[in-house]
Amino acid sequence: MTGEPVLEVRDLCVDYGVGPGGVRAVTDATLTLRRGEVLGLAGESGSGKSTLAYAVTRLLRAPGVITGGEVRFHGPDGVLDLLEADAATLRRVRWDQISVVFQSAMHALNPVARIDAQLTDALRAHRARLGAAERRERAVELLRLVGIGEERLRSYPHELSGGMRQRVMIAMALALEPRVVIMDEPTTALDVVTQREILDELMQLKDRLGFAIVFITHDLSLLIELADTIAIMYAGRIVELADAQRLFHSPRHPYTLGLLNSFPALHGERVRMEGIPGSPPALTALPAGCAFHPRCPFALARCAHDVPRLTEPAEPAEPDGAPAARSAACWLHTGGEHVPAPLARVLGSTP
């Protein structure tokens, strides 16, 4: 991906609650989203992936508090620091420049308003000069974009199937042609066939309209097919960041490796897989040092007290000559340590 950055997150920290009862949900998150790119955020429940997305859009509700960092949005009128922006600026940017598709379309649509009213609402607020006829025209256009016929304009949400409701949500998010669309588990509640249809349409729209996507999901196998770059989160930290193919074929963080080994394959020999022993930690009782060390098969002595930073792994350049545009937060890769074979694979070798 060579596009210019459109959203830059630096050292973002988010707490839930303040004082002794507070917990840190996101720690030092640093990410860059480029134009037209799909950035995947993967992690288990409680890993902070949704919190990160809501903090970036300033949609986080109390007791969530952003305690540090910087979020720079590259808009049409220059760079904007979203964490410093006032309410009026945010109102202008949200939906117009950055829109969000929420997880549950069943609950995100207003059950007592017709589809056309919900679709034109954002147009009315952000495009005041449009007349009613133009708004309606745009609503029809948007529905057609996501493969729904004009006759559904006067429907209520309960008259649509789950897949159609999710399509309406996507149409609404695209209504003002934003630069960035944040999607929080947009297809989790849907059947695989519907999920695939919607994702196909979404990728075509992305290529045509040129927006960038932050795609949040727990389904890493789906993300590898979909995303350009993937960030893996564990206990509030980004533990590995790499392009999708590198992440899949040559993971560097033991947690990424464990996650990849948690999805049974659709082909090949059936082999017993072990997943990851133990369960994710509660944010109120995070282990010292690397939060993953109690579950890590390769843990070193220092993992129990020193927190590893997200850095480029100390290793020879990739065989394709490209700079290793990847990073992992793991002491195994800081040089001097023996790297276990599964974490030392290079792209192109058979996994």
């Binding site: 695989v192 999920q195 196909d200 196998s221 659709l266 997943g275 369960s279």
Partner: protein
């Protein structure tokens, strides 16, 4: 994989001897109350014959609305069938209260959501002691010894650490293990697991699937694994049964069905499933959504979505035919006369 008598194909793993649980021609039509369609029925499960031999895992795969959960509820007798019968160890299951209770001691259901299937105000000890008291008639110190044993069987060790905990103190995976342990308390022959891992975190799903695998081996349980995730069905099951719109459309050995699917619907499911190893772009083998089960399509219920549909598919429902070895499918493409001249995909 199937035994054919004159009229009926019985799906499920083929093993010598009498299966632990067998369903014959199980059908469920739910009446529609109120509204314009009052007096009509939802054809949720249609003529399903399934045998679950001990020591096997049978996976039922399908989209929401395919009838897979209704099937598991019919098998637990939580829902009364419209027609068809159940045989436990070859004996027809009676309808008396005593027979029901005996059945509940033999066939146990593990639910999807371990956050709501355990009672929040009771300890794990209480959850495990109750079935031991009610079904096994145990009393006193024996109860605690057996409860601890149960926890060890689902790899929650040391048991003392868990007995006095409450559900909210456990993780999702641990809760699901407690739910399974509670099921094992009645010494069942059959375990029906309805989406047992779909609510769990990705990294602990395999642990629960591997536990089901061990229970099959060690305790010789007959396990029905209901899921929408065809990859996990391939991983765990001996036999995969594919359901569409209330009917079984294909069944056979798990690897064979997923590697060389015979029914176009199975191909569609596989083409849509996430697969990181996929190199070429996804080509969906069919479009659209499952039909209404009040007015199911005529003939083959899949024909409106099928990319290979022929005229006959809209008229007559296809019979179940052998595809290869123990793999069977209900599709006209398997009929040598009908399929002549049609390119198979």
């Amino acid at each position: 994989m199937t035994s054919t008598d004159t009229t009926r194909v019985v799906h499920g793993p083929k093993r010598p001897g009498t299966p632990a649980l067998e369903a014959r021609g199980l059908t469920k039509h739910f009446p529609v109350h109120g509204g314009l369609r009052r007096g009509r029925v939802v054809r949720a499960v249609e003529d399903v014959s399934l045998a679950l031999p001990e020591g096997t895992v049978t996976a039922v795969v399908g989209e929401s609305g395919s009838g897979k959960s209704t099937l598991s509820r019919l098998l637990t007798r939580l829902t009364a069938p419209t027609s068809g019968e159940l045989l436990l160890d070859g004996e027809p299951v009676g309808g008396s209260a005593r027979a029901r209770r005996a059945y509940a001691g033999q066939v146990h259901l593990v639910l999807q959501d371990p956050f709501s299937s355990l009672n929040a105000v009771h300890s794990i000890r209480y959850h495990l002691r109750r079935p031991l008291k009610l079904h096994q008639g145990l009393r006193g110190s024996e109860l605690d010894a057996r409860a601890a044993q149960l926890l060890e069987r689902v790899s929650l060790t040391p048991a003392e650490r868990y007995l006095d905990k409450f559900p909210h103190e456990l993780s999702g995976g641990q809760r699901q293990r407690v739910a399974i342990a509670r099921g094992l308390a009645v010494r069942p022959r059959v375990l029906l697991a309805d989406e047992p891992v779909s609510m769990l975190d990705v990294s602990i799903r395999l642990g629960v699937l591997n536990l089901l695998d061990e229970l099959r081996e060690r305790e010789r349980l007959a396990i029905l694994y209901v899921t929408h995730d065809i990859a996990s069905a391939r991983y765990l099951a001996d036999t995969v049964v594919v359901m569409y719109a209330g009917q079984i459309v294909e069944s056979g050995p798990a690897v064979q069905v997923t590697d060389s699917p015979a029914h176009p619907y199975t191909r569609l499911l596989l083409s849509a499933a996430p697969d990181p190893r996929r190199r070429e772009p996804v080509v969906l083998r069919g479009r659209g959504a499952p039909p209404s089960l009040i007015d199911p399509p005529s003939g083959c219920r899949f024909h409106p979505r099928c990319p290979l549909a022929m005229p006959v598919c809209a008229e007559t429902a296809p019979p179940v035919r052998p595809a290869a070895g123990d793999q069977v499918a209900a599709c006209w493409l398997l009929d040598p006369e009908r399929a002549a001249g049609t390119a198979s995909a």
